[in-house]
């Protein structure tokens, strides 16, 4: 699924400079616990989380994830966005809660 489609489905706001309409994600993982995310091995994955701190970006970076969606209207600070920029990870923010966000992406075919 292209990031452009993710933005449309979640009515998300784009933050930072690593976003690209045509960047492709092939799997997604939704959690507020980073070790759950670190147990998840999929290539070109998207992370959805309600947690906002620098460890979210580090976790995504270690897992080679392509994008992070902050849910429930969480907007990360500039420090977090610039960490993601450095790592080449796109940052999105949506008003939708985690469950709904995951559900929408799943229904549109973002799963293995």
């Amino acid at each position: 699924m292209k990031l452009k489609t993710v933005v449309g489905l979640l009515d998300a706001k784009v933050l930072g400079s690593s976003y690209d309409d045509n960047k492709e994600v092939l799997a997604a993982c939704g959690s507020d616990l980073m070790s759950d995310v670190l147990a998840f091995v999929k290539d070109q994955a998207l992370l959805l989380t309600g947690l906002v701190n620098s460890q979210v970006v580090r976790t995504a970076e270690m897992m080679d994830m392509k994008a992070i969606v902050f849910v429930r209207g969480k907007v990360p600070g500039d420090d977090i966005v610039s960490l993601a920029d450095e790592a080449g990870i796109a940052v999105l923010s949506t008003q939708l809660p985690l469950y709904i966000s995951c559900g929408k992406l799943y229904c549109e075919g973002l799963y293995k």
Partner: protein, 141 residues
């Protein structure tokens, strides 16, 4: 590629920079041309260990030796030690405080993840003295 050694000091006070050593190792491994799947295994395992050093043990020192065959990681801390290692290795077991959980850790998945992503892992620990975790990820594909 000949043998290559790096050492990182992990600050136990500053959670916001926890993971920085693992991020640096990732860069080193990328520059050495190690395969991306191998880099992911090694850096995720080290990241979990590094976070544990910060949240459970007041920081410590990480030594990494990279040879053509393997990535050899030693995590050493002078924290409280682990009273029951097999219990600590159980998925879901965590003594993390609510504070730590609010930061996104405390699922009790860190040590099991470290085991899962490495080819060898050995924990040496003594209550009141500290913990040393040795991990090996083979680089040969």
């Amino acid at each position: 590629m000949s043998s290559f050694k790096v050492q990182y000091t992990v600050d136990g006070e500053d959670f916001s920079i926890a993971g920085d050593a693992s991020r640096k190792l990732k860069k080193v491994l990328q520059n050495l041309g190690v395969a991306p799947q191998i880099i992911r295994k090694a850096t995720v395992a080290m990241y979990e260990g590094e976070i544990n050093m910060v949240i459970h043990a007041d920081g410590g020192v990480i030594d990494v030796e990279i040879t053509p065959e393997k990535i050899h990681i030693f995590l050493r801390d002078k924290g409280p030690g682990i009273p029951n290692v097999s219990l600590a290795m159980t998925e879901g077991y965590s003594t993390a405080s609510d504070n730590v959980r609010e930061l996104g850790f405390g699922a009790g998945m860190g040590l099991p993840n470290m085991q899962k992503y490495t080819d060898y892992m050995n924990i040496t620990t003594e209550v009141g003295v500290g913990t040393t975790i040795e991990m090996i990820v083979n680089t040969a594909v």
